[in-house]
Symmetry: C2
Subunit: 344 residues, 2 copies
DNA sequence: TTGAAAGCGCTACCAA
DNA sequence: TTGGTAGCGCTTTCAA
């Protein structure tokens, strides 16, 4: 590619300044307005074919790329959907969900941006998000309060959607009813005749938001029955599982909901090493219905968790953006259904 | 929701327009300049304490949040580090790496943004990224060419870092030498006396970027030896594994590198169901060194993969941003080391 | 100590 | 069909 020097001497291959539409206009011998019309295919104005060609050629020659910030500043709005990156490590389920959502929003001509706001909390975080003036914000997890929602809306967000355990005033809510997962597991174990039921509680920080409601769900299901529930703290490490397994006889449990399939595998291995028979002595149920569980022996029963379709969520966002005055919608989105295999 | 007129009557709790610094200035009875000084704690100018207080009060009262786009437009630069979201599903290793990187860059006062550009390819994608005028771009995977790098640099990116299998002209490179993983596995299997070696090749689309160089690494290590290498296409599904296992006797393999721990588990299970003894009949080696592998019986030997520390990468980015003229650095960042357990 | 004003890059209105 | 120009929200220099 030939470089055209703007000083008489030999030009460096990297012009130091970013080309603007004014540069393109100058190079094409037209006004900035014309450049804008051409590059945006403005249908309101007809530009002659030769002019179009000159503008396109100049833009390509200069390597012109429009400045998104300037454009949305001028337009007064953007089509950015902001999604704060979840602080806690998410599993493959959620990862797939996010990918699907990106596709769906992309095909509605939104731009999805994941913004890492590690370390900021609550309203602090909301302010940081608001600075970007997104048209919609999709907040996974808890941690956003009504204040935060208000900040975002004041900053022009036409839709705020929370994806977590509880409604937040003013925001659309996708209620992830984790307690339903526990409820489902407990119902199953109870139906299988188990009465002394353990519930694994991961010790890893950040997982309480999931583990506590799951435990609550178990408790809720077994209230007013003859079943007894025992919480079982467990770190995701062999030693912790071995220690727990060594106390198994005295714990005297005939069923356990292991939080998810990974903890279930960890625990099952330790129990089997300890000589505990599954499911005869203790039935085990996991959650997430990973491939993993199908490979264990005995095959692991699991709670299949159905996340909302990215498509549906994208449409909710679009609807909310188009009618920002509408009542916030509330949907309960965590489908929990038992997949029985051989461990229970 | 009740509509409130913006006439002199009862003050509306929801003003319909986003407050600007001019609104704050008006409310505080000062000029926009003063507002800017106060809110940015400008050290160049001393503002009296009463004025500061008035400005802060007005800002809080109005719920003022600065407009990031306007600010960086004025400043001529931003501190945004753009990271296109990888198209292929990434494992927990990479997830942790990204989180760590966000922390590290955050503490250097950069803002990490993951931008989902699904469906755009090569230079198309680079242009979309360039529109955001990031100060640095961190591109995982292949797919960015020298053209793309040039576009980004022209758009003001002071550092472009690729994180993938090959160097790209003009960009810093973090070379992920996947072939080293295969090399390491092959060396181990060979040392254990295995000579008829299978290499699992996932059939899932998108994984070729990892699986092909890993296979190449195996081939490279075993070239000019008496060992024979066989590629084993395998989908991540029980049926596929069962089908492969059913052909195991005729394949006549005494060692297999299973791509990673998950495929290894899938294959091991199928082989065991088929009566193949591990490691006696066939040795199995995985990769990623997940907890998972420690829980299998026999315990799975695995290639431990060391990703660069987020800290180190953040420092590379910072260095590159501060000295944009410097020679692009190239680092080989994938440490591969064998963790021998009982499956080989 | 504070204010007036220019200008970042872009689009859209109005005039030619 | 094209050009001039105002102004989006912000920072910063210069002047008062």
């Amino acid at each position: 590619m030939v470089q055209i020097p703007n000083t008489p001497s030999a030009a460096p291959p990297t012009p130091r300044s970013v080309p603007t539409s004014a540069d393109v206009a100058r190079a094409a011998g037209v006004s900035r307005a014309t450049v804008s019309y051409v590059l945006n295919n403005s249908s309101a104005v007809r530009i002659s074919e030769p002019t179009r060609r000159r503008v396109h050629a100049a833009a390509k020659e200069l390597g012109y790329v429009p400045h998104a910030a300037a454009r949305s500043l001028r337009a007064g709005h953007s089509r950015m959907v902001l999604m704060p990156a979840p602080a806690i490590p998410v599993g493959p389920l959620f990862g797939r969900f996010v990918t699907e959502l990106q596709w769906a929003l992309g095909s509605l001509d939104y731009t999805v941006v994941q913004y890492g706001t590690l370390g900021l909390h609550g309203d602090e975080a909301a302010r940081a998000w608001a600075e970007l003036r997104p048209v919609a914000v999709l907040v996974p997890g808890a941690g956003l309060g009504p204040q935060g929602v208000a900040v975002l809306k004041r900053a022009g967000a036409r839709a705020v959607v929370t994806f977590g355990p509880e409604r937040v005033d003013g925001a659309h809510a996708l209620l992830t009813d984790q307690s339903g997962v526990g409820h489902c597991a407990a119902a199953h174990l109870y139906a299988r005749g188990r009465r002394r039921i353990g519930v694994v509680i991961p010790e890893e920080p950040g997982l309480e938001v999931f583990s506590r409601p799951r435990l609550d769900g178990v408790r809720r299901r077994l209230r007013d029955t003859d079943a007894v529930v025992t919480g079982l703290p467990l770190a995701y490490a062999e030693a912790s599982a071995a220690e727990l397994a060594s106390r198994w006889r005295e714990l005297d449990l005939d069923g356990v909901f292991a939080y998810n399939d990974e903890y279930a595998m960890l625990l099952m291995r330790a129990l089997q090493d300890e000589g505990v028979r599954i499911p005869e002595d203790t039935a085990v149920v996991g959650a997430d219905d990973l491939m993993l569980g199908r490979l264990l022996r005995p095959r692991l029963s699991s709670i299949h968790i159905e996340l909302p379709s990215g498509r549906a969520l994208a449409e909710l966002v679009d609807r909310a953006v188009c009618a920002p005055g509408a009542q916030p919608e509330t949907h309960t989105v965590l489908g929990a259904s038992l997949v029985q295999r051989d461990s229970s």
